[in-house]
């Protein structure tokens, strides 16, 4: 939050604060007015004293919002894009870091980067979902290796959860797809979820675009395999696969019906060894189950297949199904329509995201909001009226 707001909120005068920081009162008022940005040492001290509430960004925020990228920034990004299109993995990696950055200036750069990035519609975006332990990574590795043989270039975007408590994360996807990770025409990028819900990061779509621009023609988006992830991933891919475990007879393995409805292709994995016969039963169970389910796509009945990722069996068949689906969709013009829908979803997600940021960064830390909160605390307003009042102030047409 802004230093001004913090001090007001905690009833600290600028004089008191200047003593705590051991700087002059004039300096403090300059920081508050935005006439000067504190140096590194003082930034740290302020951060420490305010328990992290006032950080470096809070001093830049006003500047950056109004700043347009300068020509050098733009040239740098044009250069980066050129290198990406020439297939530089390093530049692709840097671009993904940029689109994932939470730094405001980086976000401006990222917006510019995406706007000039060549868009491709001859790629295939595959979403992969399934409960933990179903073998998503092994499946992607097996299918990925097969696709490399067929002269495709394969990118895998995997999301690992950031700890809610510490914020850190463990990104182990390359150890799970070791054979694929060392191949020349494969690119695996694990990203921390950074508190973004839905099994993707806030910038998975941007990342897909970057990978495609770098010449990767098949892009896998692997979800963390948690409940609400599927809808989010479904809205950004061309085909959505759900992996299943062989299991005899019981009802749909506790998988939510909603997820099956989203699936374009159900794959029973681990169809090997002692599980082979169970896998066959499972395939039949699901064939029966989906016959009474409405598909999320027009004119497409989901298919059920099985494979053994670990033994690389049935993988070619799965690919035939996937490419068959894509061909069919293209023939009926649904493919491009879906891509347009993906862009629409993207747009609304961005609107949503930016409003949320706006609420967090600006509205919540604003003096007006404090006043309204105060009224609420003193029982002068109820929650509903208070919410409407805030919205009325910020959204002109809100009724």
């Amino acid at each position: 939050m802004l230093l001004k707001d913090y001090l007001q909120l905690n009833k600290i005068s600028s004089k008191q604060f200047s003593r705590i920081l051991k700087v002059s009162e004039i300096s403090i008022s300059r920081y508050i007015n935005g006439n000067r940005i504190p140096n590194k040492r003082i930034l740290r001290a302020i951060f420490k004293e305010t328990n992290g509430f006032v950080s470096a960004n809070d001093f830049l925020i006003n500047d950056i919002k109004n700043i347009e990228l300068n020509n050098k920034d733009k040239d740098d990004i044009r250069k980066l894009v050129r290198e990406i299109t020439l297939g530089s993995i390093k530049s692709l990696a840097k671009a993904i870091t940029l689109v994932e950055s939470s730094n405001l200036l980086d976000q401006k750069k990222s917006d510019f980067l995406i706007s000039i990035l060549p868009k491709k519609n001859n790629t295939i975006r595959i979403g992969i979902s399934g409960v933990p332990g179903v073998g998503k990574s092994t499946f992607i590795e097996s299918l990925g290796l097969y696709l490399l043989q067929e002269n495709f270039k394969v990118a895998v975007l995997a999301v690992d959860p950031s700890s809610q408590k510490t914020g850190g994360s463990i990104l182990g996807d390359k150890t799970r797809m070791e054979r694929l990770s060392i191949k020349k025409n494969a690119y695996i990028r694990p990203s921390p979820s950074q508190g973004h819900l839905g099994g993707v990061t806030k910038s998975t779509r941007e990342t897909i675009n970057c990978a495609e621009a770098a010449g990767f023609d098949v892009v896998f988006v692997e979800t963390m395999g948690v409940g609400q992830a599927e809808t989010a991933v479904h809205s950004m891919v061309d085909i959505f696969l759900v992996l299943l475990l062989p299991s005899g007879g019981d009802d749909l393995q506790g998988i939510k019906k909603g997820i099956i409805e989203l699936a374009d292709l159900l794959v029973v994995n681990k169809a090997d060894g002692s599980l082979l016969s169970t896998a066959k039963v499972t395939v039949n169970d699901y064939k029966n189950a989906i016959s009474i389910i409405n598909s999320a796509r027009d004119s497409w009945k989901p298919k059920v297949e099985m494979c053994s990722s670990i033994n690389h069996e049935g993988i070619a068949n799965i690919w035939n199904r996937i490419s068959g689906f894509i061909k069919e969709r293209k023939k009926r013009k649904y493919f491009l329509e879906n891509r347009i829908n993906q862009n629409k979803n993207w747009m609304w997600d961005l609107v949503d995201q930016k409003i949320k940021n706006f609420i967090e960064k600006d509205i919540k830390n604003n003096q007006i909001s404090y006043e309204i909160e105060k009224k609420l605390s003193n029982n002068k307003l109820n929650s509903i009226n208070a919410a409407n009042e805030i919205l009325g102030i910020y959204l002109k047409n809100f009724k």
């Binding site: 730094n103 950031s162 463990i170 182990g172 990028r189």
Partner: protein, 707 residues
């Protein structure tokens, strides 16, 4: 003196002494979760099931032999291997002249993983951490002048167990011994490799078949040879507590018994030839109690298979003092640590013992440090009088009670294993590995927050750095020599015999119709190399790829003082505000060294501190590591190195980064790195070297500053 005092009188007296504190404050919860009281009395012996009995008789709690050290002390068996066969041979002969009674061979990493010295993946591994053996010819040099029909030889080999044991037997045959005369031990304990040490080659199923083939062959042809050494050592080294070490090792043992019985062997055919291997750490009484508990439990377990021979019930063991308890800082303290640990092994009734050299946290032992390590045992055996009485701690209220508690706790863990269907299944599910990694993270947290003292490391640090002479090994020279020897071997052998032998191995692997050890001996005699035999079987069995799970949260939750963590968290927040993301570190483990305790620990602790942590696969090459670092756009690469590979691998990594135009990625190193190598590493561009014993939050703060 007339009054008979009771425990209540003592309670009162003790509380008086304590003033403000309570008596219950003196209780100590061990890392195993056992509550230890400040005083034990006669009552603590009541109802304990294990306390009766005599040494040499079931249930063997008091020792596997009737007379124990009162007749003959334990075997001093020092584990060693130096780059080349001829150098190791010299070292063994020197040891034999100075009191060593049995040999113990350490192989280099390339051999462990079944690669010949000329394989491109092992450039940095040949001659590291042990002797390079490529064929029967190297084996013959290794034992030149040492008659194998008289000398007991222990070999730490699990992955490439077939070609190594095969060429050992073949070397014996060419020395003129018969197979039945060979004595010694082959470790051959593959299950713990999947759990902690990672020097496996094939997947679990075929690996277990190999174990069974070896038990079968040795029980038939080599009656004096221990077919397997069921090892808890590496578990404790990887961070397991003593109860985990005990429970998982016995559970491993049970699996081996089962596969041998499945082969149609009689329990008495092989059970007397099973031996065990414990790590002995600094928790003195716990170690003694563990060893006694193990003998009792094993005897109870084997009883269920109705052996006729009493020897089948007796657990015999080798012990080694704990390597992980050694410190780089104030290294001479390690002499004292090793002495205390050696005493625990002796009070626990070990059959043979290796004492570590004080410089092993830095490098392989010099002849000076090796001498002190040997003498530690000789002094215990010949100067102290400890050997005169058998199982001298028996009847101690504390030790007996502790023994009983360990038995109880270990049984709980074994039950957990049994409930999922045995150890093979539990390993597949990753349960023991996870439990051990949890223990390891907790231990590190206790040390980092000074709850557990390590003298000279987190307390009483020396003011000055001591200079210690350490052994430096020219790995490149060793590799060149090995490659030259391989060339000669390949020129002078009968290729049709070689191909025939390898074809037989492949067919036996496919059809499961002949003994693979028998065929490996034949192949060794025909001059097939370790790598060729391994590769032939790999065609059928495939090479095992580990799935790697990493725990999270345990470290942070175990740190009692949160100040330590919040300092780092604050720095990370500042970093994040500035750069738009958290500091991102790639933790890599290059080369064939599979000890991943250190790298796992760093990964989980750094993630708990708020870093984004990428993990590289085990056995990565520097090229692969550089590629991963660039693709994931990390800020920094942390190289974990234990096996002297840093001198070869890190320079290649730096070169690869340069090639990828990614010199902005910083490189730091940690692990077992001799201080003498620091300047070399810094010169080639390594930003910082962290020695063992660095507190993790301190390291994290320093890293953030570097970025």
């Amino acid at each position: 003196m007339a009054k008979n005092y009771t425990i209540d009188d003592w309670n009162k007296q003790a509380e008086k002494e304590l003033r403000e504190k309570k008596l219950s404050d003196l209780k100590w919860e061990t890392p195993e979760g056992i509550m230890v009281k400040p005083l034990y009395t006669k009552e603590d012996l009541e109802g304990l099931e294990h306390t009766d009995g005599f040494p040499g008789l079931p249930p063997f709690t008091r020792g596997p032999r009737a007379t124990m050290y009162s007749n003959r002390p334990w075997t001093i068996r020092q584990y060693a291997g130096f780059s080349t066969a001829s150098e190791s041979n010299r070292f063994y002969k020197e040891g034999l002249k100075n009191g060593v009674m049995g040999l113990s061979v350490a192989f280099d990493l390339a051999t462990h993983r079944g690669y010949d010295s000329d394989h491109p993946r092992v450039v940095a591994d040949v001659g590291n951490a042990g002797v390079a053996i490529d064929s029967i010819e190297d084996m013959k040099v290794l034992f030149e002048g040492i008659p194998l029909n008289k000398m007991s030889v222990s070999m730490t080999m699990n992955g490439a167990v077939l070609p190594v044991l095969g060429s050992f037997i073949a070397a014996g045959i060419e020395q003129g011994c018969s197979k039945s005369e060979l004595t010694g031990t082959i470790q051959n304990d593959i299950l713990k490799e999947f759990m902690v040490r990672n020097t496996y080659i094939y997947p679990p199923q075929p690996s277990m078949r190999i174990v069974a083939d070896i038990i079968e062959f040795t029980s038939r042809e080599m009656p004096k040879f221990n077919s397997i050494s069921i090892s808890g050592y590496h578990m404790q080294e990887a961070g397991a507590n003593q109860v985990q070490e005990l429970a998982y090792t016995l559970a491993d043992g049970l699996e081996y018994v089962k596969i041998a019985l499945d082969r149609g062997l009689n329990i008495d055919d092989f059970a007397p030839r099973l031996s065990f291997f414990w790590s002995i750490g600094m928790n003195f009484f716990m170690e003694v109690a563990k060893m006694r508990a193990a003998r009792f439990m094993w005897s109870e377990m084997i009883k269920n298979f109705n052996p006729k021979n009493m020897k089948s019930l007796a657990l015999r063991t080798h012990c080694q003092t704990s390597g992980v308890s050694l410190t780089e800082q104030d290294a001479y303290n390690n002499v004292v640590r090793t002495t205390v640990e050696a005493m625990a092994a002796v009070f626990g009734g070990t059959q043979s013992l290796h004492t570590n050299s004080f410089d092993e946290a830095l490098a392989l032992p010099t002849s000076f440090s090796a001498r002190i390590a040997r003498n530690t045992q000789l002094i215990l055996a010949e100067e102290t009088g400890i050997t005169n009485v058998i199982d001298p701690l028996a009847g101690s209220y504390y030790v007996e009670n502790l023994t009983s508690n360990i038995i109880k706790e270990a049984k709980k863990l074994m039950k957990e294993v049994e409930d999922v269907g045995g150890m093979v299944k539990a390993i597949e599910l990753g349960i023991p590995k996870m439990r051990i990694e949890e223990s390891s993270a907790k231990k590190q947290a206790r040390v980092d927050s000074k709850e557990e003292t390590i003298v000279g490391v987190n307390k009483y640090q020396p003011n000055e750095q001591q200079d210690i002479n350490i052994l430096s090994i020219d790995n490149e020279q060793a590799r060149k020599e090995q490659v030259a020897k391989l060339d000669i071997l390949k020129k002078n052998r009968d290729l049709s015999k070689v191909n025939n032998s390898l074809a037989k191995l492949i067919s036996a692997a496919e059809n499961n119709n002949s003994n693979l050890l028998e065929l490996s001996i034949e192949a060794s005699l025909n001059r097939c190399t370790i790598g060729e035999i391994t590769e032939a079987l790999e065609k059928v069995f495939d090479r095992h790829k580990p799935s790697s799970k990493t725990i999270s949260g345990v470290y942070a939750n175990s740190v009692k003082s949160s100040d330590m963590l919040s300092g780092v968290k604050k720095e990370i927040e500042i970093f994040k505000n500035k750069f738009g993301r958290r500091p991102r570190i790639l933790v890599v483990k290059m080369g064939q060294d599979g000890h991943d305790r250190g790298s796992k620990l760093i990964a989980t602790a750094f993630a708990d501190l708020g870093f984004d942590v990428d993990i590289g696969p085990l056995f990565q090459t520097p090229e692969e590591a550089a590629k991963q670092a660039v693709e994931n756009d990390v800020h920094i690469i942390g190289v974990s190195t234990l096996a002297a590979g840093h001198k070869t691998l890190v320079p290649i990594l730096m070169k690869e980064l340069k090639k990828l135009d990614a010199e902005s990625i910083k490189v730091i190193c940690g692990g077992v790195i001799p201080p003498n190598d620091y300047p070399f590493l810094e010169e080639i561009g390594v930003t910082k070297v962290f020695g063992p014993g660095t507190s993790i939050p301190d390291a994290a703060l320093e890293i953030i500053k570097l970025l």
